[in-house]
Symmetry: C2
Subunit: 298 residues, 2 copies
């Protein structure tokens, strides 16, 4: 139905049965095992623009190892260094470059590893009692070392709704102050405890644009590893186009015609900015949402 979205389609088999089998896991830690080389949380690429897989000998002696899965019969690992990786949890230049040049399956393998390593780096202590935690189950869990607590902690995946809204054949898009000049994209926000995906979509659209959304439809999802979002792309309709913008989060929110959206997407293909606005980058789920809306027709 959809072309593969960026960060999906990893070739690495998660092989979750091995995570729960310490002997099987140890048996994979041989000279044949692959270690995904990273620079903090950033990807390291070869001259051929592939991921740079080394061997376990490349890991620091005091690093924890995360089992990413199997490549054929070889174990694939990532390293959690004792020192916290420097840099921002958001996508930086090295990540944007990786999105531009990496083969889809490799980009997905990197994205999953980045989310996991970032999570480990920020969860060295138990949120329940404050004691140290240690990696468990091949890196898909951390356990509290305090015998009176023993809390188990699991990697975060944070669901985020991102949505286009249609009214009178036009599409609602907005720009945040941090966007590149001219860029408009789909509104978005984290799903909160106690709400459905559909409720989260309606709440975000009302909070950010003052627009009442109805008939929310799921379109596409994407793992976005900055740091650990699950983007849930939706489309909705509105009956009243009057906008009351959230001035604290948004710099502008407005309606764009189908022609303007189509032209902006075509301009992106040429590496240019559209006449009415700059479309979100091709690797972003917002880009896929705009393409979906244009392809669906009026």
């Amino acid at each position: 139905m959809h072309a593969p979205i960026a960060f999906s389609g990893s070739h690495v088999d998660r092989a979750d049965h091995i995570r729960n089998d310490p002997a099987a896991l140890d048996a994979l830690k041989t000279w044949q095992a692959r270690l995904l080389r990273m620079d903090g949380l950033d990807p390291v690429l070869t001259l051929e623009s592939t991921l740079d897989w080394g061997s376990l000998a490349d890991a620091a002696p005091d690093s924890e190892l995360v089992f990413l899965g199997l490549d054929g019969e070889r174990g694939c690992f990532a390293e959690v260094r004792k020192s916290y990786p420097s840099g921002s949890p958001h996508a930086g230049p090295a990540s944007w470059n990786a999105m531009a040049v990496l083969e889809a399956g490799e980009l997905a393998a990197y994205g999953g590893a980045r989310s996991l390593v970032g999570w480990h780096s920020r969860h060295r202590f138990c949120a329940v009692c404050g004691s140290a935690t240690v990696l468990a189950k091949g890196g898909w869990q951390r356990n509290c070392t305090n015998a009176d607590c023993k809390a188990e902690h699991f990697p975060r995946v944070d669901p985020v709704t991102i949505m286009t809204v249609e009214c009178d054949g036009k599409l609602l898009l907005g720009r945040q102050p941090r966007f590149p000049a001219g860029r408009y994209s789909a509104l978005a926000g984290f799903v909160e405890p106690g709400e459905t995906i559909e409720e989260a979509v309606a709440r975000e659209v009302f909070e950010e644009a003052g627009v009442r959304a109805r008939d929310v439809e799921y379109v596409i999802s994407q793992p976005w590893p900055f740091p650990s979002s699950l983007m849930i792309g939706c489309h909705a309709f509105a009956d009243d186009p009057a906008i009351v913008m959230d001035e604290t989060e948004m710099e502008d929110v407005r309606w764009f015609t189908r022609e303007e959206v189509t032209e902006a997407l075509e301009a992106t293909e040429r590496g240019e900015q559209g006449r009415a606005f700059g479309a979100p980058p091709k690797t972003a789920v917002a880009h896929a949402l705009l393409r979906w809306w244009v392809a669906r027709g009026a």
Copy 2:
């Protein structure tokens, strides 16, 4: 499109602008404010089977207060006590009773509060550095008190895929050892870092049943506050019905005919167990998935 699912449709307005406005938040902490009374994480009901809302005077002096939102102009709060609420993060008898007797909007208000209070109770310490954390932004954040760290932490929402799979007109359901006798339900599992919703569905179905799923379709979502799941209900198809069951997680996995599923749902309405199997309870998203499949027809 769907009847409201349990734990959705809260009447409490989240009013997120107030979370970021300490003065507005303080102004709501009056004798008119409502405090949701809870027994640990369990709901407390009145004799009329409604939620038992007290006043802020009912809170312990050293409790932290979570701002749930507005009921009209009155602030609604929940209490995070210094002592960890006893009991399991899973649904117990008091929660199942609340699901049976509470009005939908009230059940949703309780569910959201339960997830939030449970999260606070288990995040009194900073996962980055181990220092104490304090409640911030009306309870929608916790901040590390270590001036060298200052990490910000946000409530968890854990996306879970739950799916029916169809092959030759039959539906794939399974039972875990902890299920009541005779109960079968949709397979399910957490979305992991680095995968789409559709990839998570295919992985879970293969892991638990050895069945290859294709054409995954989103159907419905539900917040499930035990402790903080976002259930993402999907349907998929399979071409090969051969089952290879995961013996560690599942007790049985099998295919049921449309007639068997229909009869099991009808039996649930009468408070009985179906002839072929017992359907999941009406408040579970799995029940809605089965109803959706039967209503869609062959």
